[in-house]
Subunit: 245 residues, 2 copies
DNA sequence: CCGTATATTAATTACCTAGTTAATTAATAT
DNA sequence: ATATTAATTAACTAGGTAATTAATATACGG
């Protein structure tokens, strides 16, 4: 995508402009300054932030470099290629979080209600700690030859998915879970009620109706829906519409 | 995104290779053949298909041309610029569908259950008739400065959204809708339970567990969840786990 | 205090991408 | 028949992108 990207905002790193930004920083190793490992992590964080905001395909190496206040050559220095940057992102940042989700499910395999509640809560705490996670994951769900999906499958197979699936089937057989649900869609539904709105609200910064929505409200809404459905839990006294005028 | 796109599959149009594809088609107006309006529509359809598969940003004009079996100059001939192609897509294809969704909601403003059931069904029939719709919309939801969102807001404001919001609030006040739901998230939840899985299953073509999932199963699942929540509608007789061995 | 390893930029390369134009052929109206 | 209009490709331009290299400046161990 060239020729139509005149000026991304690209939240400039504070550390970038040291003194007078007029003198444009000659080459050479900087004096003192942060260690290389910090710089590397800073680049990873910057990349994750931009990927979450604009999507992976839309984010050029130059944009990441600019947002981090360095030249594109730095990315080559630390990650060699764009592909390898993605590998690093996935291995070092994405997979650990993803794994912690699976654990919640497996740790509560004896009670559907608790498992679901805990899962929703975990989603929320992840969203708070890693603001890039929900967006990047949701984008991955919608991408066919996702940069993520193949690698994730590659790196921890679908054993977790299968066990979760069987767990759901068992719950249904025991009458503890709504038997009309499709087992293979339960997890996707949880995503749709948590990660999806979490991502969406970040894109709504200028919408007056839904300005004050945060993780708390989303969790409350999702749990209310998951536990009781859309209709009122109270048995809905029917002919109450026409009250005294 | 350049330099890493060696060979997209790009389902070649059947009409493209007329006889021996060895002779590479000289310039000039083709004999007989489809009318210009058909050609234009064919290009629009091709673009929508690719946008749905790979996302808008990932799809170059050259890719669209190749998939349609023409040269990139054809796109310039019919649409002048990429931006205008997007405008055409939105105005001629996207907005009418989008509008038909709003209508369903407003036509059933007197009964929440019916409104929601009809809405889910409408989503499913849209997915069947316009396979590109769900994917493109969901991608739009996740994009900050979405190419779509601004234009859509621009073209039919948020009057519909506001009236839907107030409708939900009213239902809650009347005790006919779960009062713990967040009004501004109800529509997003419907998306998350319908459009999201509809899009996702298309990306799962090689997943054995969820191969046979279609619109029918997704609708059934979504309605089951919306009407009763995850727990079993039957009051769940508790101590039935240890039956006779 | 000196050589080597490390961190950084400027400059360059090969390749995409959007958009434009001129040439070419068929259809259509006169 | 002939001129005009429509539809199409090849060839080109200007600018972006990922990746690489050479130069440069600091850190650090002996």
């Amino acid at each position: 995508m060239a020729a139509r990207n005149p000026d991304k905002p690209a939240a400039r790193a504070s550390k970038a402009a040291k003194k007078r930004s007029a003198a444009p920083r000659r080459p050479g190793r900087p004096s003192g300054s942060a260690s290389a490992i910090d710089q590397r992590n800073r680049l990873i964080d910057t990349a994750l932030t931009l990927f979450a905001q604009q999507g992976i395909a839309d984010t050029t190496l130059a944009a990441i470099a600019k947002a981090a206040g360095v030249t594109p050559a730095m990315l080559h220095y630390y990650f060699k290629t764009r592909e390898q940057l993605l590998d690093v992102l996935i291995d070092e940042r994405f997979l650990p979080v993803r794994k912690s989700i699976e654990e919640v499910f497996e740790a509560n395999a004896d009670d559907p209600a608790v498992a679901i509640i805990k899962l929703v809560q975990r989603f929320m705490s992840i969203a708070e700690e890693y603001p890039w996670f929900a967006s990047i994951w949701m984008r991955g769900v919608l991408s066919e030859r996702s940069l993520l999906k193949d690698r994730i499958r590659e790196r921890f197979g679908d054993a977790h998915q299968k066990s979760a699936f069987q767990c759901i089937v068992r719950w249904q057989a025991e009458g503890r879970l709504n038997a009309d649900l499709e087992p293979s869609l339960v997890f996707m539904s949880l995503l749709g009620l948590t990660m999806l709105p979490l991502t969406a609200v970040k894109m709504w910064r200028d919408d007056p109706l839904r300005r004050e929505l945060g993780a708390k409200e989303i969790a409350r809404h999702a749990l209310a829906l998951l536990m009781h459905g859309v209709v009122s839990p109270r048995p809905a006294k029917k002919k109450l519409e026409k009250q005294v005028p």
